[in-house]
């Protein structure tokens, strides 16, 4: 075991010290990511710092994993061309060790190149966690357990998901079952004056039946009440009959605790990204054992894209299936969508592995699903590496 670790480390070290062009490429791509996202900051939909941070870091991670794929494929492809893989088969190194060592070294090459930019985005960038501590520092978050919409006729309706449009005279009641530790803040984002001609929102916010805010809303606003709560509160937002329509962003409604230290967030982001780089490099290395580097890059790139957009593809397939229920979709298209969803579901979700989304939503860095994300990535790595290692270790046809 010690010998195997030493051999993997030797291969990884040798790989990481090679090919300075890979480092240069990774750095160039990372800079491209930083500047590309800087360019779209002016767009209103990415104006919010958390969204800007998420987009910028995601693009950096995408490009870095592409560079890792390239570095992994190049390291093994070059060994294959030079006959070195066959030569190493005569040593104590097993095929799996060679693949793993080369992939780890390739991932390290890229990681070292993008680490300064990664650190800069986290620490110095205007949309990064250090400069946007209030928005991005992890906090304990408690969502309402029950949401009810009170209609004008006095009836009540449970609201399960998504934003809600409140009409004049309607009420929205949120019930919490727990409190975060420390001084908690109620977050209830909403938007009034949805069109230029709509009248301003006139509202009353009640806590456990007592009105705490009565007023007239602007275009984009919300409530942020910070206090030591004695018990989980019951919140009621009531619109006056002369009020305009209000859109309440219920998925973002929560009680959240005070901001915590950022170190755990940084560790989570770094470990997730390193795991992603290793996965990409291993994919490139494994494919390059069986095919030309160019082909390995194309195939690996497509797989990486599917892994990155997995959630989007699953959602799209879900929509097709849902719409089919209304008879709007051809059965063949539905069958394709379902098959596609099943195929994509087999791939690991690297966005969950990366953890950028959690950081952008100021969630505690480690979630219950993260273990599953890392496990899925490990299983995927094994499934990628095993056939490649078997292919590498095969004996020549007819050899005894």
């Amino acid at each position: 075991m010690t010998g195997a670790l030493r051999r993997v480390a030797a291969l990884a070290w040798a790989t990481a010290r090679e090919s300075s062009w890979v480092r240069a490429l990774a750095l160039a791509l990372a800079l491209l990511a930083a500047f590309a996202v800087t360019g779209i900051e002016v767009l209103p939909e990415v104006a919010a710092a958390p969204l800007r941070f998420e987009r910028r870091l995601t693009l950096l991670c995408w490009l870095a994993s592409g560079a890792a794929l390239l570095a992994g494929a190049h390291a093994v492809g070059r060994d294959r061309r030079a006959g070195q893989l066959d030569a190493w088969r005569l040593s104590h190194a097993r095929a799996g060790e060679i693949l793993l060592g080369r992939a780890l070294g390739a991932a390290a090459q890229v990681a070292l190149a993008v680490a300064p930019l990664f650190a800069w985005l986290l620490v110095f960038d205007a949309s990064g966690p250090c400069r946007q501590r209030d928005s991005l520092a992890p906090r304990e978050q408690v969502s309402p357990v029950r949401v009810e919409r009170g209609l004008v006729d006095g009836s009540r309706r449970a609201w399960r998901r998504g934003p809600v449009l409140l009409d004049p005279g309607e009420r929205l009641e949120l019930q919490f079952a727990a409190l975060p530790a420390g001084e908690a803040e109620l977050v209830l984002p909403w938007r009034g004056s949805l069109t230029p001609s709509s009248p301003p929102a006139r509202f009353t916010l009640r806590l456990d039946g007592d009105p705490v805010v009565v007023g007239k809303g602007g275009e984009v606003t919300g409530f942020r009440l910070r206090r030591h709560w004695a018990q989980p509160p019951r919140i009621e937002l009531a619109l006056a009959p002369e009020s305009g329509v209000v859109r309440v962003d219920l998925p973002a409604a929560m009680l959240r605790g005070p901001p915590r230290a950022l170190a755990a967030t940084f560790a989570r982001l770094a470990s997730g990204h390193v795991a992603e780089l290793v996965l990409a490099a291993l994919l490139g290395a494994a494919l390059a054992t069986a095919m030309a580097e160019g082909l390995a890059l194309v195939l690996g790139g497509v797989l990486l894209l599917l892994c990155n957009l997995r959630a989007l593809f699953v959602d799209a397939a879900d929509v097709v299936r849902e719409v089919h229920g209304h008879g709007w979709v051809d059965p063949a298209l539905r069958a394709i969508a379902v098959a596609y969803e099943r195929l994509v579901a087999l791939l690991p979700d690297v966005t969950a592995l990366r953890g950028v989304g959690r950081a952008a939503r100021a969630l505690p860095p480690w979630g219950a699903a993260d273990g599953a994300a890392f496990l899925a990535a490990s299983v995927a790595s094994l499934l990628i590496a095993l056939p490649a290692a078997l292919l590498l270790a095969r004996r020549p046809r007819g050899a005894r």
Partner: protein, 218 residues
Amino acid sequence: MTVPRGALHLLAGANGAGKSTLLRLLAGVAAPSSGAVELLGFPAGAAELRGRVAWLPEASGAEWAATVEELAGLAAALHGGSRAARAERVEAALQETDLVALRRRRFTSLSKGERRRAATAQVLATGAELLLLDEPLDGVDPESAERLLERLAARARRGATIVLSSHVLLDGAIGGDRLTVLAGGRIVADGTPAQLLRDETGARRSFAALLRQARGGR
């Protein structure tokens, strides 16, 4: 063809004679269409030979950007041994290939002959019992090639078995224990270098003359 342990066995022949194929068969990376290849008592490619055989492929190390010493160190690490033993093997390999002064140079910055010697140093640094060297003298200047052959002969005298192929053999090859000449995939001459490199009158003849005669004798 049988190669005794502790011998420096030379394979000569024109381009396409089958030298590299023979070495690939010995390394176990190609399979014979008929017949058998046995190394150190085991079939070629057997798991028992791991770490005991090292092979220098013909195109080895075309694009490495690592330094000469790092490459030799990597080969030594993959073949195992203590840290001190590995360092000793690397040092010996660099000395045998005259690369001590170039140890910190990147492989890609070396000339063709220096690259070939660096690739050979990798194989020597493994410390394997059986060394299969495919064209280690390719691109190497005559003086360095002579010295390398002498040192390989000395290594063989210390117990290593070396099978070396070359299409340009030099005077230093006289120090080899055995010379096999291949043409068209067949052995056309086999004997000690001293025997084969003399004509019927006992006069010294060139390798080119030997190859010409061997080809004509098929």
